[in-house]
């Protein structure tokens, strides 16, 4: 059976980001892309599940950057059996989460998986909507902020993080969609020689789509967050610190 992992490339924030002269986009020539960290965890979790059950992992992504191959080859080198990229005319667009989900659904349906995993969030999906949207469009149950999972007796048991260190284990009927916060173990290292071998021997399947409707939110202006003021360290003994705190809160009209 099949487990689908949905992966996305995002700008590498280690590198300096530059805003394009248009003011509504990043300077794409200066951007380099990395796999969304949570998607990497989703892949690891999927591989761990598949190692236990003998399922086949298929990595799926929308190639909005023209560089998705690299990420998919890495997924293959790590143990995914197939990799599929959705291509189309996305040039210069930061796809909205909803548009992305709509593009992905036909591919997922075609693969007929019993489980879909993706990262719980991404820099362009900070509110974590991809997994829930997919689940709504597919009509399958869903859990997010998942930190470990297990397939047994025809269901998936997903442990999700709540708050204050509390976790909850859900049992979902298959097929289901999981938004992964962290895999059970750190994503594995894949030796470069294996990636290179995969690049020579394996191939990435393509699904050409004709995008319709609004793909991306329209941007008015892109800018770096304004420098916030410096933090002040409170020093002294407890009562001095307390006095200063009260003073600060008063000054802001909070007391």
């Amino acid at each position: 059976m099949t487990i689908v992992v949905v992966m996305e490339q995002v700008p590498d924030v280690v590198e300096e980001l530059v805003i394009a002269p248009s003011g509504t986009d990043l300077d794409r020539d200066a951007v380099s892309y990395v796999i969304n960290e949570y998607d990497d965890h989703a892949l690891e979790e999927a591989l761990l599940l598949a190692e236990a059950t003998g399922d086949e992992v298929v990595a799926v992504g929308i190639d909005t950057t023209g560089e998705l191959d690299q990420a998919l080859y890495t997924a293959l080198a790590k143990g995914a059996r197939r990799a599929i990229k959705v291509t189309g005319d996305f040039e210069g667009a930061w796809l909205s989460t909803r548009a992305a989900a709509q593009l992905l659904v036909p591919v997922i349906k075609e693969l007929d998986p019993r489980l879909v995993l993706t990262g719980v969030q991404a820099p362009d999906d900070l509110d974590g909507q991809l997994a829930p949207t997919l689940s709504a469009l597919l009509g399958w149950p869903h859990a997010s902020v998942v930190i470990s999972s297990e397939i047994a007796d025809g269901v998936v048991r997903a442990r999700k993080e709540l708050w204050a260190g509390i976790t909850m284990t859900l049992e979902l009927e298959l097929p289901a969609v999981l938004g992964v916060q962290a895999a059970r173990q750190a994503p594995r290292y894949v030796p470069i020689s294996r990636v290179r071998q995969v690049m020579r021997e394996a191939s990435i399947e393509t699904r050409e789509v004709e995008p319709v409707g609004d793909l991306a939110p329209s941007l008015m202006r892109l800018r770096f967050p304004a420098e916030t003021s410096q933090a002040e360290m409170l020093t002294g003994n407890a009562s001095e610190i307390a006095d200063r705190l009260i003073e600060l809160l008063r000054a802001r009209g909070l007391l």
């Binding site: 280690v14 290292y189 030796p191 470069i192 020689s193 990636v195």
Partner: protein, 680 residues
């Protein structure tokens, strides 16, 4: 002379013994032949004479332990000479020919045999007393040993020692019996003649019996021992010279690419090791010299290079028939060593250099790492992060390549971009010197010194990548190759006469590893250039320095590449008083950073660098500077001097900074240069 029945018995026993021995030897040869690759037999003819000379002079073993080596030499010389003695004794047994009471060459022969017998007996007793009385061979409790090894080492030593004692002793006493039979002392056999007095008054029949018994004990014993010989450590007699003679001609700093069997890289099992790594096991004499110098073992880690070799041999001996016949061995991590041990190797090569029989335990450890990395075995998280960063950004700091040359912005002059204009020296700066904020200060000083000396130099700016020296030693061959390709592409864009490096690890890779990829350019370490610039007056000492200092040789500079003089020439030129630590030059002690260890967690255990600081402190309270010539050392020892609490007494300093203090450089106040090791 033997009786006829004795002669027939001897011949029959000899035949049986030789057959059994040949069987054992052939199994060992077939076992070794299961290793990867084949020896270059051409080496044999070229090396057999020089190596034999070395061995006759016992050079490899005299590198350490002078007293023990002298005892060994006594046994060894006797053993060699006993080859002749045994032949003549055999002739005597069968034909009655005797050298007794003859003059000339026979007397000389007798004299040598007599004296060497005593040397061998004394040497052997000494060695046995040492092994069983003093018990110097201990492994720390974390070292993995096969169950058969624990008991086996002592048993093997006892059998071999007992054999030599009995064999030589019987022959010696036998000579005494013959002297007693002849009823007069033989001046050419002084010690045996003394012993002969013991047999004074024995009947003729008793003496004849004694003569037969001692002959059988001396020569018959060989026949009894022979079949055991291939399985004993005594086989080092053949395997050690063979190992030394057939050793690949390859710089210590150059690794062979991993072996590949059915797509699996590296060595998971015995048969995936190279032939010479299997031979190593048989050449090993279990002397533990390698373990004594191993920084990992010395700081209580589970690694013992000796145990690795010994385990290999014992496993093979116990399973020889099956293995020689082609059976798959269990994983090396079940029979030879442990994962913890494998990852604690710093690739300092101390074991390789010290081993008297030419073994290279370090290579096994690297090959096991290669297998682990390629099987996707979980890595130390910090190591994994470093490798991922190296793959993505070309440095282990997780910094974008564009920031590599950021330190140059703080210099009062521009540094040439070697990709854009030709330079005489291309300065390969290295990761630590470029990115680590603590090291950047030194890097700037080196730049200023080069500038002050009007050296024509430039750098590769953001195109430089980590050379991959330690990546290769971690076992990530694919990443190493990728880094090599990237660096070669960058180097191709530049025009230069020679390379100068700050980092000994980069030095090693560029000098020893890159030639295998077609890169042949002279490579210098910055200490070599600085020494030269000082001696040729292009850097002038304005104010000599007066402190007492010690210098730490980096493994990849001092041991791997034998660059030990240049840094000392610098210290001398600056007027400093150099005090050597006991372990220096090629015998230097590792700081613990090599082989990727710098990226791994030390697990809170003592570090080799901390032991090293104590070694330096023992040189005197007035020792002011602990001088280093490697950015990684700077990092390791700046930490160690703090954790050991000697920060106030001893300052870790880069040799370039001392040069700057003595020559003075524009725009830098003396005080600002001499600010200890703290980064501003």
């Amino acid at each position: 002379m033997l009786t006829t029945s004795e002669r027939i018995a001897f011949v029959l026993i000899a035949l049986a013994s030789l057959l059994l021995t040949a069987h054992g030897v052939s199994r060992i040869v077939r076992a070794i032949a299961r290793g990867q690759g084949r020896p270059t037999w051409g080496l044999f003819f070229r090396r057999v004479i020089p190596v034999s000379l070395d061995i006759l002079l016992q050079r490899p073993i005299f590198r350490t332990r002078p007293l023990v080596s002298a005892l060994h030499a006594g046994v060894f010389f006797a053993f060699v000479f006993y080859g002749l003695v045994n032949i003549l004794d055999l002739a005597e047994g069968f034909t009655g020919f005797s050298t007794l009471h003859r003059g000339g060459i026979a007397a000389l022969y007798n004299l040598i045999a007599d004296l060497l017998s005593v040397a061998a007996l004394v040497g052997m007793v000494g060695l046995l007393v040492r092994r069983f009385g003093l018990r110097p061979f201990r492994f720390n409790e974390r070292v993995f040993l096969l169950p058969s090894v624990r008991f086996g080492i002592s048993r093997d030593s006892a059998i071999v020692g007992g054999f030599i004692l009995l064999h030589v002793g019987s022959r010696w006493v036998g000579q005494a019996v013959r002297i007693a039979e002849s009823e007069r002392a033989d001046w050419s056999q002084p010690t045996a003649s003394l012993v002969a007095a013991l047999f004074h008054g024995w009947s003729e029949a008793a003496l004849t019996t004694a003569s037969h018994v001692t002959w059988w004990l001396a020569l018959g014993l060989i026949l009894a021992f022979l079949p055991y010989f291939p399985y004993s450590k005594h086989i080092h007699l053949f395997m050690a010279p063979l190992n030394l003679i057939l050793r690949e001609e390859r710089p210590l700093g150059q690794l062979e690419p991993p072996t590949s069997s059915n797509g699996a890289l590296g060595a998971e099992r015995l048969e995936q090791l190279r032939w010479y790594q299997l031979l190593d096991g048989y050449a090993c004499i279990m002397c533990n010299r390698c373990q004594d110098v191993c920084p990992a073992h010395g700081t209580g880690r589970a690694l013992s290079p000796a145990a690795l070799e010994i385990n290999k041999r014992y496993y093979l001996n116990r399973n020889l028939g099956a293995f020689a016949g082609g059976a798959t061995s269990p994983p090396l991590l079940e029979i030879a060593t442990t994962k913890e041990a494998v990852w604690s190797c710093t690739t300092c090569a101390a074991c390789v250099r010290i081993c008297p029989v030419g073994n290279r335990p370090m290579l096994d450890l690297i090959d096991i790492r290669r297998a682990l990395v390629n099987q996707g075995d979980p890595l130390d998280p910090n190591l994994q992060a470093a490798l991922e960063s190296l793959a993505r950004y070309g440095n282990s700091f997780g910094k974008p390549a564009r920031q590599r040359a950021r330190w140059t912005k703080e210099l009062p002059f521009p540094i040439k971009d070697a990709r854009k204009e030709p330079v005489e020296y291309l300065w390969f700066v290295g990761d630590f010197a470029s990115f680590d904020p603590r090291m950047q200060e030194n890097t700037k000083i080196v730049a200023q010194l080069f500038h002050a000396a009007e050296l024509d130099f430039g750098i590769l700016y953001e195109d430089e990548r980590n050379t991959g020296n330690d990546v290769r030693r971690v076992g990530e061959e694919g990443l190493f190759e990728m880094l090599v390709e990237q660096n070669l592409a960058a180097l191709e864009k530049a025009q230069f006469r020679a390379i100068v490096t700050t980092d000994p690890h980069s030095y090693n890779a560029l000098r020893n590893e890159y030639p295998a990829y077609g890169f042949q350019v002279p490579v210098y370490h910055y200490t070599e250039l600085l020494a030269d610039l000082l001696e040729r007056g292009r850097l002038r000492v304005q104010q000599p320095l007066t402190a007492a200092v010690t210098y730490h040789d980096p493994c990849y500079l001092g041991r791997y590449n034998r660059i030990t003089a240049a840094p000392r020439r610098i210290l001398h030129a600056l007027g400093l008083e150099l005090r050597e630590m006991p372990r220096h030059g090629e015998n230097t002690y590792c700081c613990g950073a090599g082989g990727g260890r710098i990226w791994m967690d030390s697990g809170g255990q003592e570090r080799p660098s901390e032991q090293r600081i104590r070694e330096a402190v023992a040189l005197g309270e007035d020792l002011r500077y602990f001088v280093v010539a490697c950015p990684k050392d700077m990092a390791m020892y700046s930490d160690a001097v703090k954790t050991t609490g000697y920060e106030a007494q001893l300052t870790v300093i880069d040799v370039a900074r001392l040069v700057a203090m003595a020559v003075g450089i524009n725009g830098l106040e003396r005080e600002s240069i001499s600010v200890t090791t703290e980064a501003p």
